[in-house]
């Protein structure tokens, strides 16, 4: 396999396709022509890509929960509850963790036991096991667009099945569904596999069917500095665009400092558009998704509501196209449908109150946007350089070299030397940069900000800050002060 950031040829595509559809019995039910026909009949209001386009145009922030259970009827019940009672604007189907590791026979155990116990023993919906027919059942019994949300390094079969079933959005990407989700899958492999998923979407686009793709911006959800996730987002957007994707939602997970968070979304949207334009992908629609706090949550539900609402506030003020909603059960376990709806309701209340309101430009906001863009550019330039102009190759080499370095990632293909910590205002900064090729100016900026905190806390800059920061939100604060 020779990785290149180049559109898969028809021949390559169909060769792979043949293999993967034979990987599990339900693969055989996927028929591209039938899929095109079916997708053409999906009503406009159930098209994810169109819903995002409309929201961007109107300056509205849409709310989407996460939700997945083991059994089809329960999943339909759940989604309808979240749509009608909760008021979700977009629907998900979260895929279980066995599917994510392509362990479909274990899914079957989960399905069987869930029927027996009459409660879901799986942490998501095993879409591959149910196949196109089961997934269509979901779409046909709900009233809004459906997206697959997962964390699957190799989601080629899953993608084939869900799109053929009319689900018009797929979350993931070669970096973002590897580094936080896998231990020893090479980036080369996941980029290749996601090129396939993107090419599939590109194929549908060529048939006039709009499908949305969403790289997973929150990564490990734990103190990821904005420029790190933004760099990953821009690369995945470029890789997807090369395969023909036209409707991309780049994402970012709330860090907690309001100005930094707003700046992150603004920088992300602008820079993604810039890079796409620069590399010739002119007709790609870029929207943004803001993830409400993705790190450890407080157990107390009232406190969780505070965290959720602040996330919604930030999404609204940033002008994100979509916000992914957390629930008051977050610290404990997969939420009941009621708790899930509560998270949506609190979120939508805030979005409605702030509808049309934005964080105005200010010196502080502009400074953060500038620093995020500058940091991101350092990584992007280097990746481009070592890939000799190829972002796919550059990414593989770049992760190996620690040019981009995701904190707390399980993957052994992540360099793992970078260490983040909050500054004295709670903004996430680079405490140890490892091999990230920052300019002296950027290094100094990060250092100064952390020194300010160190002075305030009367302790040295150290990994202890990071550890304290990891626990802080679940203990009711943003910054882990001693």
């Amino acid at each position: 396999m020779i990785l290149k950031n180049k559109r898969l040829s028809e021949e390559e595509f169909f060769k792979i396709r043949n293999e993967i559809l034979n990987g599990w019995p339900t693969g055989k039910d996927v028929n591209l022509q039938e899929a095109v026909d079916y997708l053409n009949k999906v009503p406009k209001k159930k098209n994810f890509a169109k819903a995002l386009r409309k929201a961007k145009l109107e300056g509205v922030t849409l709310a989407q929960p996460r939700a997945g259970v083991a059994l089809i009827d329960k999943q339909i019940e759940l989604l309808n509850f979240l749509s009608k009672e909760g008021g979700a604007d977009l629907l998900p189907t979260t895929i279980d963790s066995y599917t994510r590791q392509n362990r479909y026979s274990e899914c079957q155990v989960g399905i069987d036991e869930s029927i027996k116990a009459n409660r879901s023993l799986l942490n998501g919906f095993p879409a591959v096991n149910y196949g196109v027919k089961g997934c269509k059942e979901i779409l046909e019994n709900v009233d809004k667009p459906v997206q697959a949300r997962h964390g699957t390094p190799d989601s080629r079969l899953l993608s084939e099945i869900i799109h053929a079933a009319g689900w018009t959005s797929n979350e993931g990407g070669g970096i973002s569904y590897n580094i936080p989700y896998a231990k020893d899958v090479s980036i080369e492999k996941t980029i290749t596999d996601w090129q396939y998923c993107d090419r599939l979407v590109g194929f549908y686009e060529e048939q006039g069917i709009e499908i949305n793709r969403e790289p997973f911006g929150a990564l490990t959800g734990t103190l990821v500095p904005p420029s790190t996730s933004n760099a990953v987002m821009i690369i995945e957007a470029l890789l997807a665009a090369e395969q023909g994707v036209k409707n991309i939602t780049v994402g970012y997970g709330q860090c907690g400092n309001l100005i930094q968070d707003v700046a992150a979304i603004r920088a992300l949207e602008e820079q993604t558009e810039e890079y796409l334009r620069k590399f010739g992908y002119e007709d790609v629609l870029v929207t943004t998704v803001f993830h409400e706090w993705m790190g450890g949550f407080p157990e107390d539900e009232a406190k969780a509501f505070g965290v959720i609402s602040l996330g919604a506030t930030t999404a609204a003020l940033a002008g994100a196209t979509k916000v992914i909603v957390k629930t008051p059960h977050e610290a404990i376990g997969i939420p009941t449908k009621e708790a899930n709806a509560q998270g949506i309701k609190a979120t939508k209340m805030v979005l409605n109150l702030l509808s049309g309101q934005r964080m105005p430009t200010s010196k502080e906001l502009q400074l953060e946007i500038n620093i995020i863009k500058a940091e991101t550019k350092c990584m992007m330039d280097k990746i481009f350089e070592i890939g000799l102009g190829d972002f796919a190759v550059g990414t593989v080499k770049g992760f190996e070299a620690g040019i981009i370095d995701v904190p707390f990632a399980p993957s052994k293909y992540n360099y793992g030397k970078m260490m983040p910590a909050r500054d004295n205002n709670g903004a996430v900064r680079y405490l140890i940069t490892g091999n990230i090729p920052f300019t002296k100016e950027i290094l100094d900026f990060n250092k100064e900000r952390l020194e300010e905190r160190a002075r305030f806390e009367k302790r040295e800059i150290s990994f202890n800050m990071t550890v304290d920061d990891i626990y802080a939100v679940s203990k009711g604060k943003l910054i882990g002060r001693p």
């Binding site: 963790s97 274990e106 942490n123 734990t222 939420p335």
Partner: protein
């Protein structure tokens, strides 16, 4: 007391790495010999690591909800492998959803775990329990 050895890992198809990295850091600082097999670890890896390092404790983390399926039979497999007195701990978010804790606790005790921890258990609790159990164990006291 000698330096005790703990095999640490996250079981099954579970990729939650943060708690694992922190436990590693904290337990090492507390004076344990930590053998961290990391995330996405099948039962066999725990057992092999425990045999290889002659471990005193296996600490299983499960965050993602499939703990109930993933942990089944671990005690039996330990015994088959000759790890007769090894302490088995489990913690994290070990079942799917917010369930009645005492039911969950019983289910895992019945599976043969010595200690079963609810979400957000502090590392201090873990360390205290480890010290207590290992002390008792070295004097052959009932745990």
């Amino acid at each position: 007391m000698d330096k005790k050895t703990i095999v640490l890992g996250v079981i099954g198809s579970d990729c939650h790495a943060v708690g694992n990295k922190i436990l590693d850091h904290v337990l090492t600082e507390a004076g344990f010999n930590v053998v961290n097999i990391g995330v996405l670890s099948p039962q066999e890896h725990f057992i092999n690591a425990a045999i290889e390092t002659n471990a005193d404790v296996i600490m299983v983390s499960s965050l993602y909800g499939h703990g109930e399926i993933d942990c089944r039979g671990l005690r039996e497999k330990c015994e088959e492998a000759g790890l007769r007195d090894i302490l088995l701990y489990v913690g994290g978010n070990i079942v799917v959803g917010k369930q009645n804790w005492s039911d969950v606790y019983k289910r895992f005790i019945q599976m043969g775990f010595d200690r079963v921890y609810p979400p957000s258990t502090s590392t201090d609790t873990a360390i205290n329990d480890l010290k207590e159990d290992l002390y008792k164990q070295s004097y052959n006291l009932a745990i």
